[in-house]
């Protein structure tokens, strides 16, 4: 098993290298970071030339990639524009743990990401917990009670939510529970942000501000996940071993939760393992609408300003997470299904 894990991790290295190369080259087509530095005005030519030089954007893409990967402390740059490279570089490169400085705010990329990651994890893990709990409940129940009234109602509702665009659900709930409830004098939810400025950032305030974003994130996914669980459970419940278990006279909960669910869990684990790394990326739409300071907004803000170091940092973090979670999923398979062996 250890050998298997080691082999998988070693295989990931060239993969991540290729991913980084492709992403870096794609980023170069995402627009000109200097174009957006003029704010609402067009950047002056003199400033354009100076900034390109100072930020190293005048170098060929492959050199820029090399500096990103391995740093530029072994090279010199021309900062005063006289054509002679005189100032030694200061970047150490990703390979030595330096993801560089954001072009937008000059903060280290790791700091930029670290400022947002906890907010995203708080929101996404809560939502994921909600999704799993409700999807399991609904999925199992409607599998056991296939074509019952409850199953039909829940199927209709889940499809309704599943087909609803996230922004629509978010804005409708915001207008109902935050704007109109307040107008009608009912207890209301807040519209945006993480807390009220007068109340301060208390856990209660944060939780209260999380209600709508969490609901928005959960609803579509509950619908999707519960359908997977339902069909996986239906299949498992029809298997011979379940009939045997029934014939043995085992209590129903044991049949459902131990025999059937454990076997039905395999495809569900795959889906969750695929989804989890993207939780790190945040939810662009939900975070935007509810003003939640997470990774999705960070990504969008910096993509729109062509901030290669930050965008690369986020994308590489997600790429690494995908590799790791896939590995975890494979290990989980072996635990869930003893027939699977990695040697």
């Amino acid at each position: 098993m250890t050998r298997y894990i080691l082999r998988r991790l070693l295989q990931a290295i060239p993969l991540l290298f290729v991913i980084s190369l492709v992403l870096f080259f794609l980023m170069q087509n995402m627009g000109d970071p200097i174009a957006t530095m003029g704010g609402r005005n067009v950047t002056r030519s003199a400033d354009r030339e100076r900034l390109k030089r100072q930020l190293g954007l005048d170098k060929p893409i492959i050199v820029q990639y090399l500096y990103w990967l391995a740093g530029n402390d072994w090279a010199k740059a021309d900062l005063d524009g006289d054509g002679i490279a005189e100032t030694p570089g200061t970047r150490r490169g990703v390979l030595r743990g330096d993801f560089g400085l954001s072009l937008v705010n000059k903060k280290p990329v790791t700091q930029v990401i670290w400022e947002r990651l906890p907010n995203t994890l708080l929101l996404m893990l809560t939502a994921e917990a909600m999704i799993l709990i409700f999807a399991l409940l609904i999925g199992i129940y409607s599998a056991l009670k296939q074509y019952s009234t409850f199953d039909n109602i829940i199927t209709t509702i889940t499809f309704l939510f599943y087909s609803m665009p996230v922004f629509f659900f978010a804005l409708v709930t915001m207008y109902i529970f935050a704007v109109n409830f307040k107008k009608w004098g009912l207890p209301y939810l807040p519209t945006v942000g993480m807390f009220e400025p007068t109340a301060g950032k208390t856990p209660l305030q944060v939780a209260w501000h999380m209600v709508l974003p969490t609901a928005t994130l959960s609803f579509g996914f509950i619908a999707g996940y519960s359908r997977y669980i339902r069909s996986a459970m239906l299949e498992a419940m029809g298997q011979d071993y379940v009939r045997t278990a029934k014939a043995k006279g085992l209590p129903k909960p044991e049949i459902v939760y131990i025999h059937a669910l454990k076997n039905a869990a395999l495809p569900i684990v795959t889906i969750i393992a695929l989804d989890l790394p993207f939780l790190l990326g945040g939810a662009i739409v939900t975070e935007r609408i509810f003003g939640w300071p997470g990774m999705g907004r960070l990504f969008l803000d910096h993509v729109s300003r062509g901030d290669t170091p930050v965008v690369m940092g986020i994308l590489m973090m997600i790429a690494v997470a995908v590799v790791i979670f896939q590995l975890i999923a494979d290990i989980l398979y072996a635990w869930l299904d003893p027939r699977i062996r990695y040697t």
Binding site: P33, A35, V42, K106, M130, Y175, A178, I289
Partner: protein
Amino acid sequence: MVIRQSTRLFLFVLVVVSMILAGCAQPATPAATQAPAATEAPAVTEAPSVTEAPAATEAPAERKVATFIWTQEFDTLNPYYTNMWFSSVTQQLYNCWAWDFDEANKPQPRLVTELPSVDNGGLSADGKVITMKLRDDIVWSDGTPITSEDFVFTYQMIMADRNTVASRNPYDLMEKVEGLDARTVVITFKEPYAPWVANLWRGLLPAHVLKPIFDQEGTIDTAEWNKAPTVGCGPFVFDQWESGSFTRFVANEKYWLGRPKLDEIFFRFVPDDASQIAALKAGDGDLGTFFAYSDLPELEAAGIKIINSFSGYNEGIYFNMHAEKGHPALKDVKVRQAIALAFDRQKLVDDLLLGRTKVAATDWDNTPYNDPSISPWPYDPEKAKALLDEAGWVDSNGDGVRDKDGVELVLKYGTTTREIRQDTQAVAQQQLAEVGIKLDLQSFDPDIFFASYAENGASANFSLDLIEYSDSPNFPDPDTSAWLCAEIPSDENPTGVNTSGLCDEELDALFKLQATQVDYNERVQTFNKITKMIFENVYWLGLWQDPDLFGVSSRLANVKISGVTPFFNIMEWDLAQ
């Protein structure tokens, strides 16, 4: 399908038990525990305390907090590292300009005793030397006096090779900046520089905080002060900034023009426009900006006051008249006039902008520099058709589009993805089709649209024929380099800003002249000629005057907004009783 009673009961119990178990299992994730608790608790406790607080019980002790909603987050709080609107306008809170501008866009001395002029000896007759006399009561928020050293240091930082400041305009035109004594700053330009009032000292860096960092690191790019300017010179002082979430400024007790009436200004970053509207309507914000015109009636119905602040932006179309790369039709003034006459811009303003602004005649509308005799081209499609016929553009092949010498009058019309711009494109397409001009519409993300010629930016590479945007580089000063021959982007000059590719020698000479005219009245005369020339030749077609829209809740009192420094009187803002 009949469900057996016992099974149903069992499943019901199962679901209930699972839910309870799930509820018990939740403490594993800290967030999950809070969520259910919150759904009950705050509904009772929190909500009333919020509504009561400002009103009755704690009113005297309550901090006066105003909440601003910003749809974009600041990039940096160092005034010289950003040109971003949301960052720049906020600088009036915690930083200081040598002079602010009031709601009529007139300069108001802040750090200086009076505005330098030829009369008071502050401005040399040749317009090259500016001498500023500083007030003697000005201090940083930590009590350190503001002296000429801070101005000299600010100049040095802008010009330092290792500082990646956003713009060196106009500091790279200076020969030197000196402190004659602690209260006198002398600025010497290489050439006379007319737009100095608008562009000088838009912010000040504290030498006593940043100089040690610069001496040690060789750059202030990564200085902590850029993110947390705890030492400032505005009516408020920076307190806290949480990335993506909020920024808090508190009253500066040492502000020399008097402590502000509000205790705190809280900025909340809400990127979504619809959420901004919802937050303002729900009272979760006291000030917001940049609304879609279609949202204005709804906001006003909720008691939000809309303030139109003119900051020099006039939306308009630049025609690609590049000698080689321009469409042959657009080099003919009659065709350009025909486009102006065929496009009912008043209707556009009435319908899309709800009549809340005006059709722009020139890029200098609402300033003293416009020739007063100019009024926008009227809507006259018949005259437009006649002009096109006269110019030789007729529909010879019967396809509904005019042509000449085998070239169809099909124009590529590009702009950014801003909604109102795309709507305008659609209207223009419809109206110009009626006179036989076909428009091929394109829209781009702003960073691609405004990228330079070198980066193949759509507004700079002459691939489009009609290019729509607005620019106001030196407001309230009228100076711009957008019409200079030397600014035409090319392989030799890949960062030029002359979008239209036009080189009109007479216009070029006038623009060069005005930039050196220190005498205000002479400069106005020159600009009257410039505006008349651009208007009559339709080098640029004005669409609408594009004011900055501010929405202010009825909670706020004494609010005035300037087009240059919107929050110039923020120290007088107060909560309405």
